[in-house]
Symmetry: C2
Subunit: 204 residues, 2 copies
């Protein structure tokens, strides 16, 4: 749990910025983007609205910080799941297991935090999102690089493979987050798509 209660005096909060981001996340998580607001965040923290202007230039800026954090978290979940994969003496199998774990993590995040996932990649100003989705993108590229090293994926696909994998998994994740696939179909859907990605990347 992050520091949410005030420490010491009641006048100074201590870590308003962090608290605001956490509170904002919570609002979006339960009510979507339109539930985010300066006044609502302030109320949730137990502070007056203008106090937030000591830490953010505007509502927009708060949102930008929230989405950056969500993208980071998504990357961290992937990293965590990769770590938990059991080693296997068959290196190819091991790499493949890690790859699937990554994809599963991405989809799980979208499933469990649909509203956050929904807003994670929206564009602000002229910044490219991938620049911020750095961690997830990097992990994906490392994984595919391993496939190539082990001769599982042809070198010719070095540039395209990460894009194919990303968009496919992103597609499932989006549809799952939007509940566009019925709950009963989800399991089948997810594994069918992951098999499909594998088919597309691997030599046979």
């Amino acid at each position: 749990m992050l520091t949410l209660q005030r420490k010491g005096s009641d006048y100074h909060h201590g870590d308003l910025k962090t608290a605001a981001i956490v509170a904002g996340r919570g609002l979006i998580e339960s009510g979507g983007l339109s539930a985010l607001g300066i006044r609502r965040v302030a109320e949730k923290i137990g502070v007056t609205a203008p106090a937030l202007y000591r830490h953010f230039l505007s509502l927009e800026e708060l949102l930008v910080e929230i989405t950056a954090q969500v993208r980071q978290e998504l990357g961290e979940l992937m990293q965590e799941r990769i770590r938990r994969v059991r080693k296997h003496r068959d290196k190819k199998k091991y790499e493949l297991d890690k790859f699937r774990a990554m994809g599963d993590a991405y989809i799980d995040y979208a499933d469990q935090h649909p509203r956050l996932f929904e807003i994670a990649f929206i564009q602000h100003q002229d910044k490219s999102t991938r620049e911020f989705g750095e961690l997830a993108w990097q992990l994906l590229n490392e994984s595919i690089e391993k496939f190539i090293e082990l001769g599982m994926t042809p070198k010719s696909k070095r540039d395209s493979a990460p894009l194919v994998a990303w968009s496919t998994v992103h597609g499932v994740a989006t549809l799952v987050a939007n509940r566009a696939v019925s709950a009963s179909e989800i399991q089948f859907f997810r594994s069918a798509v992951m098999d499909g990605v594998q088919d597309a990347l691997l030599k046979r």
Copy 2:
């Protein structure tokens, strides 16, 4: 061009409902979902706000009608592009060309109407979106059915293939709509992914 100007008297509009949907679309197209509003739609049409309540129960209902129309349009664009594909005496090639045309249409729509695409699949109440995205989904299934008939796709993939194809193409479309892929990469990205889908569906 749909009937936008009033006909006959100035008092009765003639086709307010249609005009409201068109105007609402336009607002979303240029300013995103948050730009949609009863008052703004009314102003755009040249009518007072309460007039719209003769045709819609609420703002929400107007939005539902707009998204349904967008999904329909998306399907129609796909249909149109399929129609334009040149016949080819090699049936397999012909089917494949039509399949790619469909995918291209889907992505083009997302690229050209990013804001509309963004909101097309959002969930309202408890209705499943696919129920509404009927046309697009049907076309995709027919296409894959042809692949199976021609022995290009194994029968065992009958259920999974449409899901794999949909989510992959949907993924690209989403990322393109969000401008998460830089303009210079888009062409390579699109064709790489379409090649990937093909790899996943077809026997080799």
